[in-house]
Amino acid sequence: MNNTLGQGGGAVLGSFRVDTTSNQGHPADFWVENIIGQLIYVADSAPQPIRDQAIAYRESMRVVIDIGVRQAILSNHTTLIAHLKKAGMHEAAALIQTIKP
C-alpha cells in the first residue's frame, strides 16, 4: 500500500502593483481605492447573496474612507499653511490653500 505524503504545495509569490507619479503625489481617489482594496476583498467564488452584501458594505465603506482621506489631507494643509504663515511665507500658504484634495 502506498501512502501519499504530500499534495504538491510550496511557497508562492503573489502579484503586486507599482504606481508612480510625476510632479505630484497620488490623488485622494488612489488612496481611497488602495485602502478599500486592503480592507475588503470580495472573492469571485463567493456565493451570490454573500457577494452582494460584501459589495454593498464595501461601497458604504468607500464613502466613509473617501471623506476621511480628504479630511486628513485638508487637516495637513491647515497645518502646513499655519507653519508657512508663521514663517512669513504667505504666498506659499496661499498656494497650498488652492490645492483641493
Partner: protein, 148 residues
C-alpha cells in the same frame, strides 16, 4: 540583465526553523529595497547584505531613496482556505525621483535574510512624486507570500 522574481530558496528552509515572524507590531522588521534594471538577483539570493549572495545594483541613495529601502508594515499572517498568507501594508517613497525595475523583501531583524525578489516587468519611474508598491489582498491565490 534583470532580476528574476520568486521566493528566495533559503527563505523556504528558514520557515521550517522559525526564523521569520510576520506578526503585526511584535514580529520581525521586514524591509523592501529597490533595484535597477542592472540587477542580476534571483531567488538564489540569500541576504540583502552579509550573506553569500547579496543584493546588487540597488537604487542609488538619492532622490528620496535611502540605502536599505523602506520598512514594511507587517499584516499578521492568516490561514485562508488551505493557504497560509502573509502580506504588508502599501509602502511609498514620497517626493521621490526614482527609477527601479525590481525589489527585494528581506528581514532586517534577522541578519537581513532575503525573503523574495519582485520583478516590476519594466522600469518604474517617479519624478518629484510618489513611488508606491501595493500588495494584493491577503487571501488564497492572491497574497504576496503564500504557503500552499
Amino acid at each position: 540583465m534583470v532580476a528574476t522574481a520568486g521566493i528566495c530558496h533559503t527563505f523556504k528552509q528558514e520557515l521550517l526553523v522559525a526564523t521569520h515572524n510576520f506578526t503585526i507590531t511584535t514580529g520581525d522588521v521586514f524591509k523592501i529595497a529597490l533595484m535597477t534594471s542592472a540587477s542580476t538577483n534571483t531567488p538564489t539570493t540569500d541576504h540583502y547584505s552579509g550573506g553569500t549572495i547579496n543584493i546588487n545594483s540597488e537604487v542609488a541613495a538619492t532622490g528620496g531613496y535611502t540605502a536599505g529601502g523602506n520598512t514594511l508594515a507587517n499584516i499578521t499572517p492568516v490561514l485562508n482556505g488551505t493557504e497560509g498568507c502573509a502580506s504588508f501594508s502599501t509602502t511609498t517613497w514620497s517626493t521621490s525621483t526614482i527609477t527601479a525595475r525590481s525589489a527585494m523583501i528581506y528581514n532586517s531583524t534577522d541578519g537581513n535574510r532575503a525573503v523574495a525578489i519582485l520583478d516590476f516587468g519594466s522600469d518604474k519611474v517617479s519624478s518629484a512624486g510618489d513611488f508606491t508598491i501595493t500588495f494584493p489582498a491577503q487571501t488564497a491565490g492572491n497574497a504576496i507570500i503564500r504557503i500552499t
